[in-house]
Amino acid sequence: MTAFDLIRRGAPQDCRPWTRFLLTRPQWGALAEALAADPAPELMALWAEPAMIHAAFRSPAEGGLLLASCPAADGRFPALSPARPGAVRFERMLHDLWGHVAEGAVDLRPWLDHGRWPATAPLSTRPGAPPFPVPQPEFLPVEGEGVHQIPVGPVHAGIIEPGHFRFHVQGEAVARLEARLGYLHKGHIGLMLGKPARAAARFAARLSGDTTIAHAWAFAMAVERALGVAPPPRAVALRAVMCELERLHNHLNDWGFVCNDAAFAYPHARCGALREGVLRACQAGFGHRLMMDRIVPGGVTDDLAPGGAEAILAVIAVVQAELPALLRIYDSHASLQDRVVGTGIVAPDLVARFAAGGHVGRASGRGFDAREAIPYPPYDAWPPEVPLLETGDVDARVRVRIAEIGESIRLVRTLLADLPAGELAVPLPQRAGEGVGLVEGFRGDCLHWVMLDEGGVVRAVFPRDPSWLQWPLLEAAIEGNIVADFPLCNKSFNCSYSGVDL
């Protein structure tokens, strides 16, 4: 029996648009075994409630997701990490936030909990006393002649988010990199619980500030599906315009930064100027440079400001006009190409095993883009063209993003040319429901699951940033490279710290 057949034998629960199947613990154990035998089903997310474990899977052959749950009233459940390496960090997080122990797990060292919260397992029904003294982190050992360690962070030299990187180095080459994150844990899930959907949306919008649009949209989509309402067409189109502008400004930013990390300043300066133009157009069109809090469950808060469309169209024309010249400069400088080509390679089979999305996946042969693979309005009417490369190096990730800049420009034009008239939002009915939202942000697919109670208040929620499935691959990408290339590799991924630290 395939893993998916096993899931479908569970008791169906009313989750929209994808049914969630409640398995018994032996069934979940059998699922773990079936997954080990069949590499095809992708683990997209793993999360919990105080007495329940949930997982979202995707079968590339079937399209859509499949959700499965396992009761864990005693705080134990059969681990998925022996079958799916992407489950490792989720299982460590489940232990730290809810106290659930994944039996047979590959790795159960603490992840988000650094021993500094007032209680352990803060989201469980039985939080425990914090450890004393604060435990030291343990890193996986590396053996070999002349191996030494380089600890980096949490406070980095640049203006970036905090995280600790432990390099084991032999000569110049990195033998192993291990990231230790969790420094940004703000208690997102705990803050969203018990809040009305509109209030909880503010936290979704601040899961990762650079992806505020995609996360706010995915959360709104989950709430709307749970309640069985559809946002008005004008709101849908405006959401997509904002989301493509967000993709555009982030891709420009990171392209510039990759060049800068190779000490090539010109593209960085130009990309910075172009991006600033995009952000000012966002301010003109939507009243906020990052467009925070403009997407709410039910629709959008504000209409496009007068003159906003013209400002946006003008700036994307400027970006489009300069792209070919920038690309020629990127292509024609051997000193730059020497740094990016062949650096930080992620093998396609690794990307497939982790189900990594975004440019990380698409640079290594995994063509998944939620806008095209599991389309949602308005992309069902205007599907994007999805660039796909196989080489998996820094250069491939940059090129995927450059191609996406062009697509975003095309989509913004199409959407603005045909902006539907009408309402900006629909009222939310007050009732219970469960839903999943999946939106392609600039980093990859943002997956939000939410359960509302009769009062329309969030009873359970999980926002999954795409970086959950990309971070582990950064550790693989740097292996065998020199330490000096780490900033390049890191920037070509540009994983979110805040998004996974929750």
Binding site: E161, K186, G209
Partner: protein, 177 residues
């Protein structure tokens, strides 16, 4: 390919915006906190070390934008440095997560005196939306005395620039007193 573009850039008007105006009240308040020795050591330039103490990364995006050619922070004598040991200003964002508290305190311990601590963003002011969470301290002031706050979610680069220029003006004011 690149050279003609660079040459053309020489004759074009700059992309850089004019400097924003600075509030006299803020300058006065800051100047009062600066003693003569401090201004003697700092001169009219500031080295800034940014510390993310739990931000959502929105504030970092806007702080990064200060370095682009449009805001061109360095023309004011303000620059970001890689080590707190070289810094005069700690620019701190985020609601101060419990997991970042020690790292922030250690960063401050590495920063020579005199040192301004600037709390950037609503989160850094008092925890912002994250106030009350088990995982945050609720603002930078919970760990360090804060000299200047720049609210906003996130503050725009122009607002950031106004705040930082106020620090510079405060030094000049302190010098003439």
């Amino acid at each position: 390919m690149l050279w003609p573009r660079l040459a053309r850039a020489l004759v074009r008007p700059p992309l850089t915006d004019p400097a924003p105006a600075v509030s006299a009240d803020v300058v006065q308040a800051l100047a009062e906190r600066l003693d003569a020795t401090a201004q003697a050591r700092l001169g009219r330039s500031l080295a800034i070390r940014q510390v993310d103490a739990g931000s959502c990364n929105g504030c970092e995006l806007e702080i990064n934008a200060l370095n682009n050619v449009v805001y061109d922070l360095e023309r004011f004598g303000l620059r970001f440095v890689a080590s707190p040991r070289h810094a005069d200003v700690l620019l701190v964002t985020g609601p101060l997560t419990r997991n970042m508290r020690e790292a922030l305190l250690r960063t401050r311990a590495c920063t020579p005196d005199p040192c301004f601590v600037v709390a950037v963003g609503d989160c850094a002011v008092d925890g912002g939306v994250f106030k009350g969470s088990y995982a945050v301290e609720g603002g930078i002031a919970a760990a360090l005395p804060v000299d200047l706050v720049i609210p906003g979610c996130p503050p725009t680069p122009t607002q950031l620039l106004e705040g930082l220029l106020a620090l510079l003006d405060a030094q000049a004011t302190a010098k003439t007193r």
